[in-house]
Symmetry: C2
């Protein structure tokens, strides 16, 4: 079944006469044409008949070559992108139009111009429901991204030493991924050392790593548009006994969570498996985020693994498994792998070493 057919099944269930997306990632998913983020593209999908992809001149040639299963139209250098989009949407003659994330400006304009004639229904889960179950080709792309991510993690672990700037470690990580073929970074690389390792969103700074520091590195490569995600925490020099205890505890929590990963498992139970270990070891209050998230074209997508999530893992999901302990003023540890969900188990796609050799 093609993705378009699957989408139409979803549309039919929801009573949508048409579906509209400007998401560069959804358009890549549905047509195979990948533009840069921020490009103006409109994909208009009737329940029956050929979808239309509207582009601006600077995307038109590439779109014509790559986009499958749709007609590609150029709005022209002087044409109105909004005007042409509205015209195509009117042609659908749909009573109910499903759509996913747009800018507020676009949404308000569409409401004004179309609100009288069709009902606009925000329904991003229509495509996400398909995207969360990865097919064989998508898994191959994520596996390739995982190999590149491992290259980055190993280069980062190798680079950690007293005297180096955090951003220099980030440079080595990103270079290792890029030179092996990563399309860039899946997200802003985190290299957070010393007390900064207690900041989950620490990014990298010009701080100089000192002997004995924790260094947390959270990074990801991209291949054919697909992301991967890994975190490693090592120390510059020998870890103290408290550091060792934190490292061992987080690794144990991560392994317990991993063991519970399989299709049919509740996402919150997987979170709970890690959280219980941290609580038992006295670090419960220090794990201040959910255990993980889906990984695919977006670095954060469905499903979510957290105490609040009410989802169930499916075969073909790819999720991060990333428990952490954050002690303000002292430092933090996070260990993360990207896991492919099978019928009866999980499979770690990232395989970089957990320790500095």
């Amino acid at each position: 079944m093609t993705r378009l057919t699957s989408l139409r099944n979803e549309m039919e269930k929801k009573g949508f006469g048409g579906y509209f997306t400007m998401s560069v990632k959804n358009i890549y998913y549905l047509t195979g044409f990948k533009d840069i983020s921020g490009a103006a593209l409109s994909l208009i999908i009737p329940l029956d008949g050929t979808p239309v992809l509207l582009t601006q001149p600077l995307s038109y040639v590439a779109a014509s070559e790559k986009a499958e299963g749709c007609v590609v139209k150029d709005v022209g250098f002087k044409g109105s992108f909004l005007g042409e989009t509205v015209r195509e949407l009117r042609r659908l003659k749909a009573e109910r139009l499903g759509f996913d994330d747009l800018t507020i400006a676009m949404y308000l304009s569409l409401g004004e111009k179309l609100g009288g004639s069709m009902k606009l229904i925000h329904s991003p889960e229509t495509v996400m429901r398909l995207r969360r179950r990865k097919d064989e080709r998508e898994i191959q792309y994520i596996m390739r991204a995982a190999m590149l991510t491992d290259e980055g993690a190993e280069a980062g672990i190798e680079a950690v030493k007293a005297g180096i700037h955090e951003y220099e470690i980030a440079a080595e990580i990103e270079y290792a991924m890029r030179i092996h073929g990563s399309e860039g970074v899946a997200f802003e690389t985190v290299v957070a050392s010393g007390p900064r390792s207690a900041l989950p969103h620490g990014l990298s700074s010009d701080r100089i790593v000192r002997e004995g520091d924790f260094v947390t590195m959270d990074l990801g490569a991209v291949y054919s548009g697909y992301c991967c995600d890994i975190t490693r925490t090592v120390t510059a020099g020998k870890p103290s006994s408290k550091q060792l205890q934190m490292l061992d505890t987080v690794l144990k929590a991560q392994r317990e969570a991993f063991k519970s990963i399989r299709a049919g498992e509740k996402t919150r139970s997987v979170d709970d498996a890690a959280r219980r270990v941290l609580e038992e070891e006295g670090f419960g209050g220090s794990f201040i985020h959910g255990l993980g998230h889906g990984v695919g074209l977006d670095i954060h997508e469905a499903p979510t693994l957290s105490p609040k999530s009410r989802e169930v893992l499916e075969e073909g999901n790819v999720v991060s498994n990333e428990p952490g302990i954050y002690i303000q003023g002292f430092g933090g540890v996070r260990i993360e792998d990207t896991v492919w969900v099978h019928r009866d188990k999980g499979e770690n796609l990232t395989k970089a070493a957990y320790h500095k050799r």
Copy 2:
């Protein structure tokens, strides 16, 4: 005058009793606290009284340390981010609430919960009007980003040779920026060679550069959150006479546009200065995008330089100047610098060589 005071002047003009932003960049601009893109933050600004910044636990410590001129509140690991945001917005007791870009989901939720009691007015230009005029500190950051961008461009030009993959050139460019202190890339690096150089959104691929190819490299560094933007096009080996003509024409067009840059000039006149040169040389139809865009916390922001734009340059604007010629099947040339707008002239902040030595 602080940025908050300037914002309140704008709010008063528009009759806003409050302003609401979840934009990580606007929050950095207004408070000095920079989180990662995608972080959940709400900044609620009353016309009088202290603004409130709501964070999740994983951002709270960093926000408390860095955010100025506001009270920072943690919604807690089990708290509802939406619920707390609505509660703070209700406290404003504003009749009219200005806001900028939100997700559609957030916008619809706010409309449902607040629509009865206050008028929600999408007004992203309220903050952008301030952001487009850079102050001294912002210019310093952009200048630093420009130096890092030049490092990237020079490394890219140096790396161009027959036999190298496009992505390897991208790796060298990004490493050079990063190792000197860039916070990452301002946007996905473009390395488009041979016929691919005719694609303005070409990104980089695994194509191997051949002798005689055009190689267009479009790249940018980031410093303290501020972006910079440069494009250079060189040939692998000696350019042909047609390639030389294209390179010279684009450079001439870029210089003519540069000469017209000053405060008070219409943005479309600057575009026109470049476009006229390309038309006179017979390449008019090949320049299929606008001449430039503002550069700052976003890589594309106000003002826009294009035939359709109806803006006027101001002192303190920073804009890109990037004419191009794209001939499908043959190749393309784009040359771009980032320009600081003064009262009576422009100043190129990027200074990398235009040619391979």
